[in-house]
Symmetry: C2
Subunit: 112 residues, 2 copies
DNA sequence: CCCTTATTCAAGTTGACGCTTTATAAAGCT
DNA sequence: AGCTTTATAAAGCGTCAACTTGAATAAGGG
């Protein structure tokens, strides 16, 4: 079940999520496919710039692009989101486990 | 319950997680406090470099530093991890919701 | 075949990032 | 007081990231 990625993939993943425009695009794509042109419309920047953001998201595995007539519709690939989730969850779990052990340890001290 | 951050905070958070050394440091800190010197030991880079990484993690709210004698022990602040989790969860949820709606829609078409 | 539409490629600028080295600060040791 | 340990500050360097503009590609429409 656990989606394990290597360091480079995690680099790409968190780098992709570290930009507001790219997070916006991910959010937009949770509601379905969209072309580059459609994705670019809300922004002041050029379509080329958005195309570059799309490339970053693609490298991270967060989205993929198809072909339909002249357009290249983008769609979300939620597996990468799961992977990011998985990494963070692991850290959170390790932290929680440590607190549990600490508590147990302290309880033992109290008893003894 | 949901930890909501603004765009700048999310930028800082995901930027902090986008570097292998910093993710290592986070992982290390799930097992308890550590000084800058201790954190720097496993790496080939200078302690100054690690100190800079720590600053990035601190800006993102992922860790905080105390004072004890000459050292400044770092500890994890898991709330920021929760916030990152929260953002990703939201996207995943939106995606899942959309798929549910699609399925429902298709089922209706089949029936009708 | 031109013309438009959708998109990418390529090159250049600006600014941020990851690191180094040198210097400085603050606390403890002798 | 001087020396050591732990850490940050500041300046500099090379690389990468986020844009821009201009040119190229690919598919369709008149």
């Amino acid at each position: 079940m656990s989606v394990t990625l290597d360091d480079q993939q995690l680099d790409a993943l968190f780098t992709a999520l570290s930009d507001r425009t790219r997070r916006d695009i991910v959010t937009r794509l949770t509601t379905g496919q969209a072309t580059v042109k459609e994705l670019a419309e809300p922004y002041a920047m050029s379509m080329q710039a958005v195309s570059q953001h799309i490339r970053v998201l693609e490298r991270a595995g967060l989205i993929s692009q198809g072909r339909h007539r002249q357009s290249r519709p983008c769609r979300l690939e939620p597996a990468a989101l799961e992977a990011a989730l998985s990494w963070i969850e692991q850290s959170r779990q390790a932290w929680a486990d440590r607190l549990d052990r600490l508590e147990t340890h302290l309880a033992h001290l109290q008893e003894g």
